[in-house]
């Protein structure tokens, strides 16, 4: 003969275990969602910074080409100076980005070369973003190229400005 109180105990144990399981499952899901949103937020910040960096290089290159008015040496000087300033500025953001849980390193290389039709300026920008917790990393490259036709260059000694076709 089963006692009444035993049924009550059994049913309540079953109910509590069900409730506890549901709660724990929900907790795991919420925790996963929180982590996902945190990572998404960091990825958005990193991507936005990298986009800004590439866009800034593009703007600097356009400004340097337009402000030099065909004077290649001035253009080259302005470009290198402004890009260095940009790199210096973005390197100062390190602390702020670390507070956001990110480490981003920016790099660039500028190559000047000439061909029979004109002069080419190529900037290879590279950014590497890493989550401080080591959960994700983003590596992006951008190849920014401008072609200056030979007839628009005013300088006669332009070939001497890049004897080895590179800088």
């Amino acid at each position: 003969m089963i006692k009444t109180w035993l049924i009550v105990v059994f049913v309540s144990i079953l109910m509590m275990i069900t409730l506890l399981t549901v709660n724990l499952m929900l907790l795991v899901n919420v925790e996963l969602s929180i982590n996902f949103l945190k990572q998404k937020r960091k990825a958005i910040t990193a991507n936005s910074c990298i986009d800004d960096f590439f866009e800034s290089i593009n703007t600097i290159l356009d400004d340097s080409v337009s402000s030099s008015r065909g004077n290649f040496s001035i253009m080259r000087e302005t470009l290198e100076k402004e890009i260095e300033k940009l790199i210096e500025r973005v390197s100062k953001t390190k602390g702020f980005l670390e507070e956001c849980g990110l480490k981003i390193s920016f790099r660039k290389s500028i190559v000047f070369f000439n061909n029979t039709e004109g002069y080419v300026i190529q900037i290879v920008a590279e950014a590497y973003a890493e989550d401080c917790e080591g959960l994700f990393s983003i590596r992006r490259n951008s190849n920014i190229v401008r072609f200056i036709p030979q007839e628009t260059c005013k300088e006669s000694n332009i070939a001497e400005l890049f004897p080895n076709n590179s800088s």
Binding site: K3, L19, L20, V30, I34, T45, D52, T59, D63
Partner: protein, 126 residues
């Protein structure tokens, strides 16, 4: 015997209820945290849009305050600093920080060819 049985049932139920109550409370807190992170993410994305559209500090601040107020974000302070324009700090007098003074921060960075803009928005934790 009946008395002892009832006591046993009550004690057993009590020990079973405790973990359920604790996990429920923790779940409530986690849901609150989730909604805060979701709100911060949406705020950050919209701030980035504003920063991409506007370049003047005054316009940025106007649009930012308008966006925060219209979306019910309980912002406490806005700190905007840049190399070019220096530091600007705005406090929201309408939002009072509680005795615990819990404020979370939304941080946004905008890099341009001429400047770097650091934006920190303090949002009250409810």
């Amino acid at each position: 015997m009946d008395f002892l049985e009832s006591i046993l049932v009550i004690i057993l139920s009590f020990f079973l209820v405790i973990p359920v109550v604790v996990t429920s409370q923790y779940l409530g807190l986690e849901f609150k945290l989730l909604s805060c992170i979701d709100e911060d993410l949406r705020t950050e994305v919209n701030i980035l849009k504003i920063l991409n559209q506007e370049h003047e500090i005054k316009n940025i601040l106007d649009k930012l305050i308008n966006f925060l107020d219209s979306n019910g974000v309980k912002w406490v302070s806005i700190e905007l600093s840049s190399e070019k324009y220096g530091k600007t700090m705005i406090n929201n007098e309408r939002i009072l920080i509680g005795s615990r003074g819990q404020v979370r921060y939304v941080k946004v960075l905008k890099i341009t060819s001429k400047d770097v803009l650091y934006l920190t928005i303090g949002v009250r934790n409810d």
